[in-house]
Symmetry: D2
C-alpha cells in the first residue's frame, strides 16, 4: 500500500510537477492540500482525480501524511512549516524560506524578517549529491533554488579541488524557461511580451546568488551572475566562465575532478570534453548534464550546466530529498 | 505641419500599433491620452518620447485634436465617445461599443445595456472596401472587429453574387495570435499556458459573429464560427468552407467575383486559384490576403483569408478609416 | 526477461517516440535496426545506449525479434515488410504502405504502383478501438495515420448512429505540430519559416483523406479536410463541423452515442458537453480527447478531437497494436 | 529618379532584409541578381515584383548598378567581388570574405586559402560608428559580422578609455535568433530541434572572435566568447562581463565614456545605469541598444548589448555603409 504525502501549492507549475512525479512513485501517493487565497485558480490538467483536502493540521494528522511538500511563496512556507512539523509530518520546502542559514542573510536578500528562526537553524539545505548524509536524518528540508542547483553542481567540485583561479572571477550567465517565474499571471510572463524576445533581469543581485556563495564557498566579489528569460516553457542552461588554475593542464584534468565527484551519481551526467548539453537533453528529467570546453593555451574554461528547472531544479530534487528523508531508494520514482 | 490626433488606450497592443502607424503618417502626429486606471501599466517600448496628456475634453480642445482613436474596452468607449465628439474631435472606436446597430443586438451579445443609444444609431460601421462612402461623412466610426474583417472580406462578395449554397452552411474556422486577447495579464494568455498548445474558445457564440451576420447578410443558422488561439504574437488566418452554387463551374468563376469586387483595392490581394496565403504574407501590414481551392466535381470550396489582427484587424484599418473621415488619401501612412 | 522487438527508422521522431514507449514497456525491449541511407543522420538523444544492428533478415532471426516496427517512408515499408515477415517477425507499419486496401486506391493517392499487393490484402488497418478483434490475429498491422485517427475516433460512431446530416457535408479543419512532417530537414519545416506563422496545405486532397472515407464510410463529396501547420513541436487538434440529424435534440443525445462507443475504452476521454480539450491535455500521452458544442436550435455541432501526433497518432497507437498482436494487456507500457 | 543597386543572395534572410530596407530608401532601388545554384529555392515573400537579372558583369554594366550587395557565402563573395568591381560597381560584402585583414588570419579561421588577396588589403571593414571616414572613400566594404558588431560597440570605447581590467578577462556570452544561421535547411535549424531548446556552439573558437580582437584591440587570451541559439527568429543579445579599472568609481564614470563616444550617433542608444535593453527594443531596426549594471564595491560590471542580427547585424549596417560609400545621408532609408 502506498503512503500518503501532502502537496501544498499544487496549482502552480512546481506543484503540478510534484503530482506527476509522485503519481509514478512506487511507495507514496499524493494528497492535495488546498492553500488559502488561490482556491479559485484553475488547476493544471493532470491534478484531476487526486484527493484534495483543506491544508490544516487536522488534515495532516487524519490522513497520516508522513511528509508535506510546500510549493508555496516563501512567506507561506515560513508560516506553515512549524505547525505541519508539529502535526507529525516531515516538511520539504521548495520555497526559499529555509535556505539561507541565518536570519541576517535572509533579511538582506528577501527584505523581510524571518518568522521561524529556530526552524531556520534546524533546516537542512540539500543538494543530495553534496548533502545526502545530513538530509537522511532531517525533519525539514530546504530544497535548493533552480539556478543554484545547476551552478553548484558545476562549480563546487572544481572550487573544492582548487581548479579555478578565483581572483579572476567566475561568471555564471544563466538562462531559464518561463515556468521558473511561477504560474501567477503577470505582464512580464505574458505570451506576447516573451515570445520572440530574450531579456536579462536581477543582474548581479539575484536572490539565488547567496545559495551559490554559501555552498560553493565563494566571496560575492568572485561571482558574477545574470538571470535571463528564454521564450520556452522549461529548462535552465548556465554558461560558466573562469580561468583554470595552473595545476590544470588539460581537459582531462578537469574531467577527472568531475568524475571523482560524480562517478556513481545517478542524476549527474558528464559529457566528453568539448561537448556540451542542451535543454532537450534534460527536460522532463531529474538529470543535471555537465559539459565543458578548455583552452590549454590560456586555461580559459567554459562549463555548460543544464537542468529542468521543474525537475532537478524543483520537484525532481524535492522527491529525491523525500526519498532520503523517508528512507526510500534515492532514485525511486525518478528514472 | 502635422495635425494632432489623440490615442486613448495607447498602453495596449492596438494602441501601440496605432502609434507606430501614425508616427509614419505624412499628415498627422499622435498625442497620447492617459486613461483612468491603467496609468501604472508599463508602456510599450515605442511610445517613448510621444506627447502625453490627461484624457479630458480640455485636452481635446486645447490641443485641437481633429480625431481621437479609442483603443479601449467597450464600456470605456461608450462613456468617452459622447464628450470627445462634443469637444470637436471625430471618434474612431476600435472597441465593440458602436458596431452592432441596435441596443437589442448589443445587449444580446455583450450582456449589458448600451449607454449611448443615440450615437449607436449615428455610428458608421466601416470596412472601407465596403463602406467608404458612408465613412467619408462620418463623425463616429465603429472600426470592425478583427475576426469579422477577415471573414466579411472573404465571403460578402460571394454571398452577394449568389455563389454559395447557403442552406448547407458556411463554416469559418478562425485562428488568432495572442495579441488579439489584449495586454492585460491573464492565465489564459500566460506564456507557459499558450506555448506548445492550441485551443478553441467561444465555439458558435463568439461576440464577433453578429458582425459577420449583419454585414454579409447571413442567418445565424447558416454560419458556424470557432475562434482559436495560436501560440504566436499576431495574425489571423480563417479557413472558410462552403459548397458553391451550381452557377459556379470553375475556380475562375469564383476568382472573377473576387476580382470584380477588389480590382483596384489597395489592401486586398487575391491569390491564383489553388494557392493560399499564410501569416508571414500579411503580418505587419494592412493587407487582407485571400486564396482558395475549388473542387469542380463536388463544388466544395475552401477559402483562406489572412490579416494582421493588429493591422487590417485593428490599427491599420482604423487609420484607413481616419484617412476617409479626415479627407486624406486612403492609403496615407499605410504602405 | 524482456522480449526483443525491432525498430526501423529510429532516427526519426516517431522512431524516437517508439524507443521511449518501449523502454518503459513491462514485456518487451527495443532493438534498433539501421536502415540504409540515413546512417549518418544524428540520433535523437534518448536512443543512446540501445542495441543497434543492421536491418537484415539475419538480424531479425538471430535476435529472435517477435515484432518489428517500421517507422520508415512508405516505399521502404513496402520493400521491407515481406522479408521481415518471412524472417518470422510480425510487422507494425507506421507508414502508409498498407493502409489503403486496394492497389488502385494506393496508386490514386500515392502516385506509384504498390509493390506488395498480396500483403496489402492481408494487412489489418487497426484503430484498436474499432478493429481490435482483427488486429489480435494479424501478422501485418497498418498503423493508422495521425490525422485520420483523430478524425475517425470523433466521427465514425456518430455516422454509424445516423446522427449526422451527411448531405450538408462534414468539415474537418485539422492542425498539427511540426513533428508530423518528419525529421528530414526542409525549408518548409525550418524554424524561421514556421515560427510566428500558421499555414494551410493539401487542401481537399491530403493523402490521409481516404483513410477517413473508408473507415467512417463517407463519400469524398461529404468530407472537406484541410491540414494546417501550428508552430509547435507536437499535437493534433481537429475542429469538426456538421449539422446533427433531426433525431438529435440535445447535447446529451450526442454524448450518449459517444459513451456507448467508448465506455471502458482506456484511451478515449470524453468531455462534458460544451467543454473541449486542448493540446496540453493530450501531449506525451496515448489519449484521444473529445469534446463538443451543440446548438439545439439549429443542430449545428462542433466537435474538437485532440491527440499527440507522435502518441495516439503514431508510436503510442503502434504499441497498442503490438500489445494486441503479441497478446499482451492492451494498455501495457502506455499509461 | 532612383539609382539601381544590386543584391546577390536575395533568397536568404539577409538578402530579403536588404530588399525591405532598399525598397524604403529615398535614393536607390533594388535589382535582384540571380546567383548560380540556388535558383530553385523559393523566394521570401516580399521579393515579389522586384526586377531580377542574371548575376553577370554584363548585368552590372547594362543596368548601371552603382553598388552591389553580396549576401552570399564567403567563397562566392571572394569569387564575385573582383569582376563586379571591374564592371564599375562598388561592393558591400555581407559575408566574411574581406573582414580579417590578412590571408594568414583568414586561413586560420576559415580553413581555406584566400583567393583575392589584393582586394583583401583594399577592403574597408566598417562599423560606421568607428570607421566612417575610411568607408566614405572605399570601393569594397567588408560589412561586419553580427556578433562582433554588438560586441565592438559595447566594449571598444571602454577598452580605448582604459576602463577595463583586461588581465581578468572579458566574457561575452552571446545569444542569437535562428535567422543568423541562414536560410539553407539543416537539422540544426529545423523547428522541432530548436523549439523549447537552447544550445551553445563554437565555444571559444567562433569565427567571429577575430573581428572583435582586431577591432577592440584585445588579445585572444583576454576574450572568452560563446555563441548560443535562442528559439526565436531574429535578434542578438550579448551579456558582457568584466571588472572595471580602479579609475572607474561609479556607473556615471562608465556612462560618460559611452556618451563621449556615442553622443550624436543616430543608431546607438544608451540606457540609464541599471537598465538594460531586450530584443523587443531593437528588432526590425538598425539600432544597437546598450545598458549596464555596475557594482561600485567590487567594480564587477555587466553590459547588455542588443541588435537585430538582420538589421544592425547585417542588412541595416550594410545600407548604412552604402550610404557612406555613395555619399548619401548616413541615415537615409534606415529610420
Amino acid at each position: 500500500m502506498k503512503i500518503p504525502v501532502g502537496i501544498v501549492g499544487f496549482r502552480g507549475y512546481s506543484g503540478a510537477e510534484l503530482i506527476a512525479y509522485l503519481t509514478r512513485h512506487p511507495h507514496v501517493e499524493p494528497v492535495l492540500l488546498e492553500h488559502r487565497d488561490v482556491e479559485d485558480r484553475p488547476r493544471p490538467l493532470h491534478t484531476k482525480g487526486a484527493k484534495t483536502l483543506a491544508c490544516t493540521a487536522e488534515s495532516v494528522r487524519s490522513e497520516g501524511l508522513v511528509a508535506v511538500f510546500l510549493a508555496t511563496p516563501h512567506d507561506a512556507s515560513m508560516e506553515m512549516a512549524p505547525w505541519i512539523l508539529d502535526a507529525g509530518a516531515k516538511v520539504i520546502d521548495l520555497a526559499a524560506a529555509f535556505r539561507l542559514g541565518t536570519t541576517e542573510n535572509y533579511k538582506r536578500w528577501y527584505k523581510e524578517d524571518h518568522t521561524a528562526p529556530v526552524l531556520l537553524k534546524e533546516a537542512v539545505y540539500s543538494v543530495p549529491e553534496f548533502h545526502r548524509d545530513k538530509a537522511r536524518g532531517a525533519r525539514l528540508i530546504a530544497n535548493p533554488g533552480c539556478y543554484p542547483t545547476a551552478a553548484n553542481l558545476a562549480i563546487k567540485p572544481l572550487i573544492a579541488a582548487g581548479a579555478i583561479e578565483r581572483e579572476h572571477g567566475i561568471v555564471c550567465d544563466a538562462k531559464s524557461g518561463v515556468s521558473g517565474a511561477g504560474r501567477k499571471p503577470s505582464l512580464k510572463t505574458s505570451f506576447c511580451e516573451v515570445t520572440e524576445n530574450f531579456s536579462a533581469y536581477s543582474i548581479l543581485d539575484h536572490r539565488h546568488v547567496p545559495e551559490v556563495l554559501q555552498n560553493s564557498e565563494l566571496e560575492e566579489s568572485e561571482f558574477s551572475f545574470t538571470a535571463q528569460l528564454i521564450p520556452i516553457d522549461r529548462g535552465i542552461l548556465e554558461t560558466i566562465y573562469f580561468r583554470a588554475s595552473t595545476n590544470i593542464s588539460s581537459a582531462d584534468d578537469l574531467l577527472a575532478i568531475y568524475q571523482k565527484q560524480y562517478d556513481g551519481e545517478p542524476f549527474v551526467r558528464l559529457y566528453p570534453p568539448g561537448q556540451v548539453p542542451d535543454l532537450h537533453s534534460v527536460n522532463h528529467t531529474n538529470f543535471c548534464d555537465i559539459g565543458f570546453k578548455f583552452d590549454p593555451k590560456t586555461r580559459r574554461t567554459v562549463v555548460v550546466s543544464c537542468i529542468d528547472n521543474l525537475g532537478k531544479g524543483a520537484a525532481g530534487q524535492a522527491v529525491q530529498n523525500m526519498n532520503l528523508v523517508l528512507g526510500f531508494d534515492e532514485i525511486a520514482g525518478l528514472l
